[in-house]
Symmetry: C2
Amino acid sequence: MGGPSIAFLVFDGLTPLDFVGPFEVLCRLPGATTRIVSPSGGDIAAAGGRMRVGADAAIAEVEAADVLIVPGGPGARTLMHDPAVTAWVARIAASARFTASVCTGALILGGAGLLDGREANTHWAARPLLKTFGAVPVARRIVDHGTLFTAAGVSAGIDLALLLAARIAGEDVARAIQLRIEYDPQPPFDSGSAETADPRIRDLSATVG
Amino acid sequence: MGGPSIAFLVFDGLTPLDFVGPFEVLCRLPGATTRIVSPSGGDIAAAGGRMRVGADAAIAEVEAADVLIVPGGPGARTLMHDPAVTAWVARIAASARFTASVCTGALILGGAGLLDGREANTHWAARPLLKTFGAVPVARRIVDHGTLFTAAGVSAGIDLALLLAARIAGEDVARAIQLRIEYDPQPPFDSGSAETADPRIRDLSATVG
């Protein structure tokens, strides 16, 4: 009995948690097979060159996946204009059961033509860019079109992945994964939403980007 | 003006989110320098061999750090008995301003002799093991001894790192990082705590470990 095949796009300029949040959840799905896919198949430099992550395959080697996860990071602003990458994303998404972005991964989905005329979200600081791709920016943590999902910035990928896990394997399995990763969040501060953040903190956040 | 030097121990059998949650928060501290440190200095295999992560240095090459982060994963149960690793952890912790574990990283701190007679936490499923090291297991998400911290499983590392960020750089900076990673958690289910989880889900969670 086969579990889902899950492809994660990674690239230079990746924000590591965008990728690892969903990976940690989805790799635990019963029978799941994962492929970490980079444009060239080589290792990628995440977090501004502070972290190197290995890839399993180049985009040219991956023909299909049941689930496609597209994380973000500063590098997404280059990839959204890279025709080899956007064509690959469009091709995989065409037959995938679920395609989902985290953070500015939405810009890559946009470049692949997947957001035209649709509501979508991305990192709050990049939200206006979605209009470039014909999308309708909304501030929801997860924008759910049934087979296509866009999540808010960085840590939103964990919430997204639990939702996907439930769609793929049922709510009990998703709840079991949530328990296993002890995702009972207790942030020490209440400062995670751009809608409610103090403007002073919002300005300061540009220095920790 | 120097920011903190932060060392992250990584190893074969790492749970990736244990490491990447704190990394994503702490690498954003103004002026921070990060070192990803593996026992041999080579790449490590995380998530049961599904993900390869590069290291910057071997433990033998790192003499000191302001902050030491010790994540967990199945490999921690080997490392807690590895004298080269536990001696290194003890040595770095002796002069570090902050030493913190996530998940079963606490077992490595235990092996290093840092938890003897102290309250500590770890992944809920490993909590009884803490007594092996003379620690007093408690079910708090973060156990804070001022310079020594142990956090609960996997995702608790994000909460821990925001607390550390505030201690290191002040609450405004920590709040700005929280906003930047859009950590406004909205789990689709309420199933992240072993204290309140349905026993049926707790049993099922052993299959997604």
